[in-house]
Amino acid sequence: MSWIDIGSLEDVPLRGARLVKTRLGCVAVFRTAEAEVFAASNACPHKGGPLVEGIVHGTRVTCPLHNWVFDLETGAAVGEDARIATYPVRVEAGRILIDGTALGRRSAA
C-alpha cells in the first residue's frame, strides 16, 4: 500500500463528503463520524448521480438523483443488485490518507 495524503479531516464536513480527482475518475471521500471516513467511486451505477452530493447517514449515502442508498463499508447498494468501488482510506493525525496502490490497481485491471 502507498498512502497518499489528500487533505485535512476538517475539510470534509461531518456527515458530508468531498471529491478527489484521480486518473480513474472521481472518488468521493465521506466523513460519517468525527474520525470515520470512507472512500468510494463518486458515480452512482444507476444514472451516474454524484454520490459526493448525497445525504450521508450512519455509514451510508443516498444518491441525490434517485435515492439509491449505498453502504460505504462494502459499496453494496441497499435493495439493488449493484455496487460501487470502495478504496482503503484512513485518518492519521487529522489528515486523510488514501491508498494509492488500490487506485492504481484498478487502472491496470
Partner: protein, 812 residues
C-alpha cells in the same frame, strides 16, 4: 461445656441484628449481657425523622421490646454507662458493677461531632443522634420560635424539615458550597436547596459558624461574616465520628474507628466490634446495609462459622422529607470520565450518570429516582453499557434498541405537557378523560376538545389512549416518518414543541430513533422542524439538506447546476441584465432561459464555478433567487397602477414588499406568491400558495392554490382594505404553515388537512395570534433573511472545489 459468656456494649441496630442471628441459631449457647447507655433497648434509628416530624411515635419504631429480651434470656443493663474494659481480667465494668466475658462485642456506634466554638455547651444547643435528642427538639418546637440547624448533611436537613413541619422558623447553616456535598453534586444540591426553600426553610451555604451567643441559654448563632441569626434552638448536625473511647482506653488498635479484620475481630481476638464504631480496610460505615452484613459476620464468627465481611458499594436512596434524591457510586469528575446529564427544569428533575470506559461508575438523581436501583445494579455488576449508552439515562423502560417503544416518549411526558395546541389541552386532562371512560378518539374529542381542531395531534391522543388503556385499545395504523421511527410527522412536530427537543440528537434520543442520525427521508424533515420551532436554539444543518439546498443551486441531470438570481417582483434593470449576460459569457453558460417566475435562469454552470459566478452576480447587486429551496421562490406581479389602465393598486410594489419580507425563509415545501393588480389576474395569482388580487376596495387574499401535479384555485382567506394588512395576513399564514405543516406538504395539502376555517381563525380573526405569528416569523428571519450566495462565496468557496487532484500524481 457450660454456656459461654457474651457481653455486648451498645444496643443499636447492628448489635441488635447480631443478637437476632445468634439467639436464632444457638438459643442456649450464650449467656448474654447487654449494656446500653440509653435507658432503652434497640429501636430503628433511621425512623427518628418521622418521630421528629410527628408522623410516628417511639412505640412505632421499637425493634426489640422488653418481652423480646426476656424471651431470649438477655440480661439488659439499660441506662448504664460502661466505664472500663479489663482485657486481662476479661471483665466489663458498668456503673452498677462488673461482669465477666468470654467474648466481648463492642457496638458503641458513633458520637455527634461538636464544633469547638464558644457557646457550644449552652442549654438549647443539642445534637441529633438519638431519641432523647429527638424528644428535646419536639419539646423545643412546642414552644415555637426560631431554630438554627448547623450542618446541611442528611441529618441536619432531616432535623430542619422536621422542625419546620412542627412550625418553627428554620435556618440551615452549611459550611460547604452546596447541601449534602458527599452524596450530591452541585446541580442536585441546588435543586434540593430550592425545594427546601419552597418549604419555608432558609438555607445559607458557604456559611461558617463562629460562635453560639447567649448568657444562660442559646439565643443566637454568629457567623464568620458577622451575620447574627436569632435562635431559640440550635441543632448541631455537622457529622458523626466513631465512638471509640472505651476501645482506646482498653488498648485496642484504633485508627479513626476500632480496627477490625474480615471476621470483625479487633486486635484482641476475643473482642469483636460492629457498626459505626469500626474501621475496616480504611472504611467507616454509616448506612444500615453494611452494618447488617457485619452483624451476620459477627454472629457467624461467634458461632465458629466461616464468613468474611466485604465492602460493597452502596447506593444511597435518601428521602429528605418530601425531596426525592438518590446517589450511588462515584460521581466525581475525573480524567477519562464522561457525563450523561438529563435535566428537566420544569419538573425539577436532574439526572447525571458518570461513565468510565464502557462502565457506569456513578449516578446522582434528583426529583425522579425511580430508576435508581436499576442504575445501582449496573454500577454494582459493572455491566458493559456501551450498547445502551445513548438511551441509558432514560432508564430501563427505554432500553432495547431498535424495538424502542414508540409510546415511551408520550408516556414520559409530564401531565402538564400540552398535547393539543389549538385548544390548550394538556396530557393530564386527556388521561383523566380516558380514565373517566372516554375510550376512543371521538369520546376524547367530545370531552376535552383535544385534536378536535386542526387534528395534527390526533396521533398523540391515540398514543395516550393506547398507553392508558393498554391492550384494550387498538390504534389505527399510522404512517411513520420513515423506517428510523414509528412516529408520524405530526407526532414528531408536536413532541419537538412540547418536550421540547432542540437538537437532532435530542430527537434521536428522546423519540427513540433506531438509527445513528436518521436517513435521507427523516433528516431533512427533522432539520426543518427544529429550525422552524427553535430559530434561536437550532441552526439549519446543510448536511441534512438535499443537494440543491446545500449548494444553493439546482443540480441538472448531467451534474451541472442552474443559477437563478432574484428579480424582486419580476423587476430588473439594464445593469442587472448586463451582469447576467457577462456572467453567462464568462462561465460559458450553454442555456439562458426566462422562467415562469419572472426571472432568468443560467443553466449548465459547473459546480466548481458556482462561488465565482455568485461573486460576480453579487457585485451587480444580485442575490440568490432560492430557485432551489423549500422556501420562498418568487412573487409574480403584473404592472399594476404604475402603467396599466385597469390597475387598481400598486401590485408590483406590494409584490416587491412581500418578497423583501419573505425571502430567505425556510418552509415545509416551496412557496410561490403572486399579486395581480385587478381581477383580470395577469399574474395568475389564483393558483399560487398565496395569491393576492387587488380590487378598488383593497386586497383579496387567497391561499392554498396549486398549479403543479394538482391544479387548484386559491381559497379566499380574507378581504382587507390596506396593503399592510395584506402583508400581515400573508406573513401570518406562512408562519402558521411553517409551524404546523408536514415536511414536503405544499400549503394546499396542509390546508386541506387542517381546514381553512382553522387557518382563518388564527390568521384573520385572532389578532393576538396573528401578531404572535408575525413576531415569530420576524425572529426567524433575523437569522435567515440573508444571501447564502454571498456567504458561501466569501467563506466556503473552497468546499466547491475537489479536496485533492491526484490526476497529476503517479498512480504507481
Amino acid at each position: 461445656m457450660g454456656k459461654q459468656k457474651l457481653v455486648v456494649i451498645g444496643a443499636g441496630m447492628a448489635s441488635g441484628r447480631v443478637l437476632e442471628h445468634l439467639t436464632d441459631a444457638a438459643p442456649d449457647a450464650w449467656d448474654i449481657t447487654l449494656f446500653n447507655a440509653e435507658p432503652r433497648g434497640n429501636y430503628n434509628r433511621i425512623m427518628l425523622s418521622p418521630v421528629l416530624s410527628g408522623e410516628k411515635t417511639y412505640a412505632d419504631i421499637v425493634t426489640h421490646d422488653d418481652a423480646w429480651y426476656a424471651a431470649r434470656g438477655i440480661a439488659c443493663r439499660f441506662g448504664e454507662h460502661v466505664t472500663a474494659i479489663d482485657r486481662e481480667a476479661r471483665t466489663v465494668t458498668g456503673q452498677q458493677g462488673a461482669v465477666a466475658y468470654d467474648k466481648l462485642l463492642i457496638a458503641t456506634g458513633s458520637a455527634p461531632f461538636i464544633i469547638p466554638v464558644p457557646g457550644k455547651d449552652l442549654p438549647g444547643v443539642i445534637t441529633y443522634r438519638d431519641l432523647d435528642d429527638t424528644e428535646a427538639m419536639v419539646a423545643a418546637a412546642e414552644r415555637g420560635g426560631t431554630a438554627v440547624v448547623i450542618g446541611g448533611g442528611l441529618l441536619g436537613l432531616e432535623a430542619a424539615a422536621g422542625l419546620r413541619l412542627r412550625g418553627m422558623d428554620v435556618t440551615v447553616v452549611h459550611l460547604m458550597g452546596h447541601l449534602m456535598e458527599r452524596q450530591l453534586d452541585e446541580a442536585a444540591g441546588y435543586l434540593l436547596k430550592k425545594d427546601l426553600e419552597a418549604k419555608g426553610i432558609t438555607v445559607l451555604t458557604r456559611a461558617s459558624t463562629k460562635a453560639i451567643l447567649g448568657t444562660d441559654r442559646a439565643e443566637a448563632v454568629l457567623l464568620e461574616d458577622g451575620t447574627t441569626l436569632p435562635a431559640d434552638l440550635v441543632v448541631m448536625a455537622v457529622g458523626i465520628r466513631p465512638e471509640t473511647r472505651l476501645a482506646t482506653a482498653a488498648g485496642l488498635r484504633v485508627a479513626r474507628g476500632i480496627e477490625v479484620d474480615a471476621q470483625m475481630r479487633s486486635s484482641d481476638p476475643d473482642i469483636h466490634a460492629v457498626g459505626e464504631c469500626v474501621e475496616f480496610d480504611g472504611h467507616l460505615f454509616g448506612l444500615v446495609a453494611p452494618l447488617y452484613d457485619q452483624a451476620k459476620v459477627v454472629a457467624d464468627s461467634l458461632l465458629g462459622r466461616e464468613n468474611a465481611f466485604q465492602v460493597r458499594d452502596v447506593a444511597t436512596k435518601l428521602k429528605v422529607t418530601g425531596c426525592d434524591l438518590f446517589s450511588a457510586g462515584d460521581f466525581r469528575d475525573g480524567p477519562g470520565r464522561e457525563d450523561i446529564v438529563y435535566r428537566d427544569p420544569a419538573r425539577g428533575i436532574y439526572k447525571r450518570l458518570v461513565i468510565e470506559g464502557d462502565r457506569l461508575v456513578g449516578c446522582v438523581m434528583y426529583g425522579d429516582t425511580a430508576d435508581g436501583s436499576w442504575f445501582y445494579g449496573l454500577i454494582r455488576d459493572e455491566t458493559d453499557i456501551e450498547e445502551m449508552r445513548e438511551t441509558l439515562i432514560f432508564g430501563p423502560a427505554f432500553q432495547g434498541g431498535a424495538t424502542a417503544d414508540p409510546l415511551s416518549a408520550v408516556a414520559a411526558l409530564p401531565p402538564e405537557a400540552e398535547i393539543c395546541g389549538c385548544n390548550g389541552v394538556c396530557k393530564g386532562t386527556i388521561v383523566a378523560a380516558i380514565e373517566g371512560g372516554a375510550g376512543d378518539l371521538g369520546a376524547v374529542r367530545a370531552r376535552t376538545k383535544a385534536s378536535a381542531s386542526c387534528g395534527t395531534c390526533t396521533g398523540l391522543v391515540e398514543q395516550l389512549l393506547q398507553a392508558t388503556l393498554g391492550e384494550g385499545y387498538a390504534a389505527p395504523a399510522v404512517q411513520p416518518v420513515c423506517g428510523c421511527t414509528d412516529h408520524t410527522h405530526e407526532d414528531v412536530r408536536r413532541l419537538i414543541k412540547t418536550m421540547p427537543l432542540k437538537s437532532q440528537e435530542a430527537v434521536w434520543q428522546e423519540l427513540g430513533w433506531s438509527t445513528r442520525n436518521g436517513c435521507h427521508v427523516c433528516r431533512p424533515a427533522i432539520n426543518f422542524y427544529l429550525l422552524a420551532d427553535w430559530p434561536l436554539d437550532y441552526r439549519d444543518d446543510p448536511q441534512s439538506r438535499f443537494i440543491n439546498e446545500r449548494k444553493h443551486a439546482n443540480i441538472q441531470k448531467d451534474g451541472t447546476f442552474s443559477v437563478v438570481p432574484r428579480m424582486w417582483g419580476g423587476i430588473t434593470t439594464p445593469d442587472e441584465l448586463r451582469a447576467i449576460a457577462d456572467a453567462a459569457d464568462k462561465y460559458k453558460v450553454p442555456t439562458v432561459k426566462v422562467t415562469g417566475g419572472q426571472r432568468i435562469d443560467l443553466l449548465g454552470v459547473r459546480g466548481e464555478d458556482l462561488p465565482a459566478i455568485w461573486a460576480d452576480l453579487n457585485r451587480a447587486g444580485l442575490v440568490s433567487g432560492h430557485a432551489y429551496s423549500k422556501g420562498l421562490r418568487t412573487v409574480k406581479t403584473c404592472v399594476g397602477t404604475d402603467h396599466c389602465r385597469f390597475g387598481t393598486q400598486d401590485s408590483t410594489g406590494l409584490g416587491i414588499k412581500l418578497e423583501k419580507v419573505l425571502w430567505g425563509s425556510w418552509t415545509p415545501h416551496k412557496v410561490k406568491l403572486a399579486v395581480s393588480g385587478c381581477p383580470r389576474n395577469c399574474a395568475e395569482a389564483t393558483c399560487k400558495d398565496v395569491g393576492i388580487v387587488c380590487v378598488d376596495s383593497g386586497y383579496q387574499v387567497g391561499v392554498a392554490g396549486a398549479a403543479g401535479m394538482d391544479v387548484k384555485e386559491t381559497e379566499r382567506l380574507a378581504d382587507v382594505p390596506t396593503e399592510q394588512e395584506a402583508i400581515d395576513l400573508t406573513v401570518a399564514f406562512i408562519q402558521l404553515y411553517r409551524e404546523n405543516a408536514k415536511y414536503l406538504d405544499r400549503p394546499y395539502k396542509w390546508v386541506a388537512k387542517v381546514g381553512l376555517d382553522w387557518v382563518r381563525a388564527r390568521v384573520v380573526d385572532d389578532l393576538e395570534e396573528r401578531a404572535r405569528l408575525i413576531a415569530a416569523f420576524e425572529l426567524s428571519q433575523s437569522i435567515y433573511r440573508k444571501d447564502p450566495w454571498a456567504e458561501h462565496a466569501a467563506t466556503r468557496a473552497d468546499s466547491y472545489a475537489p479536496l485533492a487532484d491526484l490526476t497529476l500524481e503517479a498512480a504507481e
